[in-house]
């Protein structure tokens, strides 16, 4: 408990932030006047009735209000109020965990926007993607961002895992959070893989065909795996059939992948991510020497 954390979080209206003495030496020229004007406007906004009604703490100017800002903000309170000096260094964290989270948000936003234009059936899926790429305003950059963002997220998640291993951050008491992290890594790959089918082009169809063909060989579950004859498995009743809703990658597979991609996996992913973050805090925050 730091000194700030032991303060009670008041339900009082935040008082006005104390406008700091102008630290910038405003000259008499145009630039100086502009700076002065900008400063006055900024403080007018920050001290306005509306702004103070939104944020439960006045604009942070001193140590106390800075701590209170973090404590009183829904988003920022994922953080502790103060952290070890080494934890803000990019050379230690590589920023990869945070960027993975940020990319997840970016992918959720672009994904929701893409859903407005996309119908998951073989007749419309490809045409809708074409439409997005050629006619929808900002459709192309939307799809590009979603695609490249997904690839970037895989890389950031892999690098995050590498960093966590190299810094020994999986060691006690953080063992179980590492397990959750591995699950999140797998989910990220599954999210990316299910999204791969949706454009319904040759690349999508055959990549998913190659990918799901591996399920055929699952021992005792796939019709080409060991033990298939023993259990009477055919391509119409094995694990691959369950994944695709058919024996080929067809319209059932498309709707299944769509639902997994847009609802199923994101839901599981979000739950586990919340747990992951919560557990980071409970296990003593970011790892450090001691």
């Amino acid at each position: 408990m730091g000194e700030g954390e032991s303060e009670q979080t008041t339900s009082q209206r935040p008082t006005e932030a104390t406008t700091p003495k102008p630290s910038i030496r405003s000259g008499n020229g145009f630039l100086g006047k502009l700076k002065e004007k900008a400063s006055t406007t900024f403080w007018a906004i920050v001290n306005s009735h509306f702004f103070r009604s939104v944020y439960r703490t006045p604009w942070p100017t001193d140590r106390r209000s800075r701590i209170m800002t973090v404590l009183n903000s829904l988003v920022l309170h994922l953080h502790p109020t103060r952290i070890p000096r080494h934890a803000v260094k990019v050379s230690f964290t590589w920023c990869m965990g945070g960027l993975s989270f940020y990319l997840m948000l970016l992918l959720t936003i672009t994904g929701i926007l893409l859903m407005f234009y996309y119908r998951p059936d073989p007749i419309h899926a490809y045409m809708d993607t074409k439409y997005l790429m050629n006619d929808v305003p900002f459709g192309r950059i939307l799809r590009n961002l979603h695609r490249w963002g997904a690839h970037a997220m895989l890389i950031t998640v892999w690098l995050h895992m590498l960093r966590v291993f190299l810094t020994g951050s999986y060691k006690p008491p953080r063992e179980f959070n590492w397990v959750i992290g591995v699950t999140l890594l797998v989910l990220t790959m599954l999210l990316s893989f299910t999204g791969y089918l949706l454009p319904w082009d040759q690349l999508a169809l055959w990549a998913v065909t190659v990918g799901t063909n591996m399920a055929r060989a699952t021992p005792f579950l796939g019709h080409e795996g060991p033990g298939a004859q023993l259990l009477g498995l055919t391509q119409y009743n094995d694990i691959r059939f369950a994944l695709l809703g058919g024996s080929i990658v067809g319209e059932n597979a498309l709707i299944r992948f769509y639902v997994w991609h847009c609802l199923g996996f994101p839901f599981i992913h979000a739950c586990l991510m919340a747990f992951h973050f919560w557990r980071v805090r409970k296990d003593g925050g970011i790892s450090g020497p001691l």
Binding site: G2, P60, R63, R66, I67, V70, L76, H79, R82, I83, P84, R85, A87, V88, G98, L99, Y126, K130, M133, R140, I141, R143, N144, L145, W148, H151, A152, W158, L162, L166, T167, G168, Y170, K171, P172, E175, W178, V186, M189, S192, F193, W200, D201, Q202, L203, A204, L205, W206, A207, V210, G211, M214, A217, P219, G225, P226, I286, S287, G288, L290
Partner: protein, 289 residues
């Protein structure tokens, strides 16, 4: 002396000795030192607002700018409409699964596509529970004291990346090996010069390959019993290996060695397939490895 120490105020209520054989004074000194270190670390902390929030914000802005530039310059791929009757050659999995697709070359599908991916996931999850140095190198990059952990993990990570690179840049047609300078319009035959198993060009009679079985058993035998024989090479290594085995215990050691031996077996199998041109090592009527 003990009474004297007991009479004085202590920094903490009487605790278990940090190490067996520690005197009361020594325990207290350790506690005081730890307390002082904690207090110092506490005082050395920085504020999240603005120090951390600023770093996070700048990282997010930087990544956004980079992603926007990439998205403006490069279009996400979109080929012609899906056609189940027209198989493109080669059919590639998404790049992040190319490691698995490349492993299909070296192992039968149930191993490469199911067993090994499952083992990678489970193996990663087991790392904290098979770690014999839970207090070494926490929160720091420390090669020292964690040499083998670093070598094994970075090696495995590199292997995964290498498989992806091979799958993306060195495979063409029916998943045959193409050097980057080789023309891609020449069709290669994959099965060329491939023998079924060591010593047999075709599937061996009785579905048994003696040489392969011996190599496989010797490899696994050496791996699983290494604490017993490594001392013959170097006495110090032997001592350390035995210590390691004792720390883990039999069950955890066996679990660990299953994962380690398979990780080592993958590059060995790659060498057998790519250089020695063996399709399988172990041949049985039921499954082949």
């Amino acid at each position: 002396m003990a009474e004297e120490a007991a009479a004085q105020p202590r920094p903490r209520p009487a605790a278990r000795p940090a190490r067996r054989g520690m005197g009361e004074e020594e325990v207290r000194a350790t506690q005081v030192a730890a307390e002082r270190k904690r207090a110092q670390a506490e005082a050395d902390k920085v504020l999240v607002w603005p120090d951390l929030v600023y770093a996070e914000f700048m990282a997010a802005v930087f990544l956004t700018v980079v992603l926007f530039i990439i998205s403006l310059v490069f279009n996400a791929p979109l080929e012609e409409e899906a056609n189940p009757n027209k198989t493109p050659i080669p059919s590639r999995a998404p790049w992040y699964f190319l490691g698995l697709q490349e492993m299909l070359v070296y192992f039968d599908p149930w191993i490469a596509g199911v067993l090994l991916p499952g083992m990678i996931i489970v193996g990663l999850m087991l790392i904290p529970y098979l770690d014999t140095k839970p207090t070494v190198g926490v929160g720091v990059y420390s090669w020292k004291g964690r040499e083998w952990q670093y070598i094994f993990f970075i090696g495995g990570f590199a292997l995964w990346i290498i498989l992806i690179i091979i799958g993306e840049f060195f495979r063409w047609g029916p998943w045959a090996w193409y050097w980057p300078w080789e023309p891609r319009d020449q069709i290669k035959v994959v099965a060329e010069h491939l023998s079924w198993c060591p010593g047999h060009k075709d599937p061996p009679p009785g579905m048994f390959c003696l040489l392969g079985a011996v190599i496989y058993l010797v490899f696994n035998g050496l791996a699983f019993t290494y604490p017993a024989w490594v001392g013959l090479i170097n006495r110090d290594w032997g001592r350390r290996a035995l210590n390691y085995y004792r720390t883990l215990g039999l069950i955890r050691f066996l679990i660990l060695m299953i994962f380690v031996s398979w990780t080592l077996f993958l590059p060995i199998k790659m060498f057998m397939r790519l250089v020695l041109k063996w399709k399988y090592l172990v041949v049985t009527p039921y499954f082949n490895i």
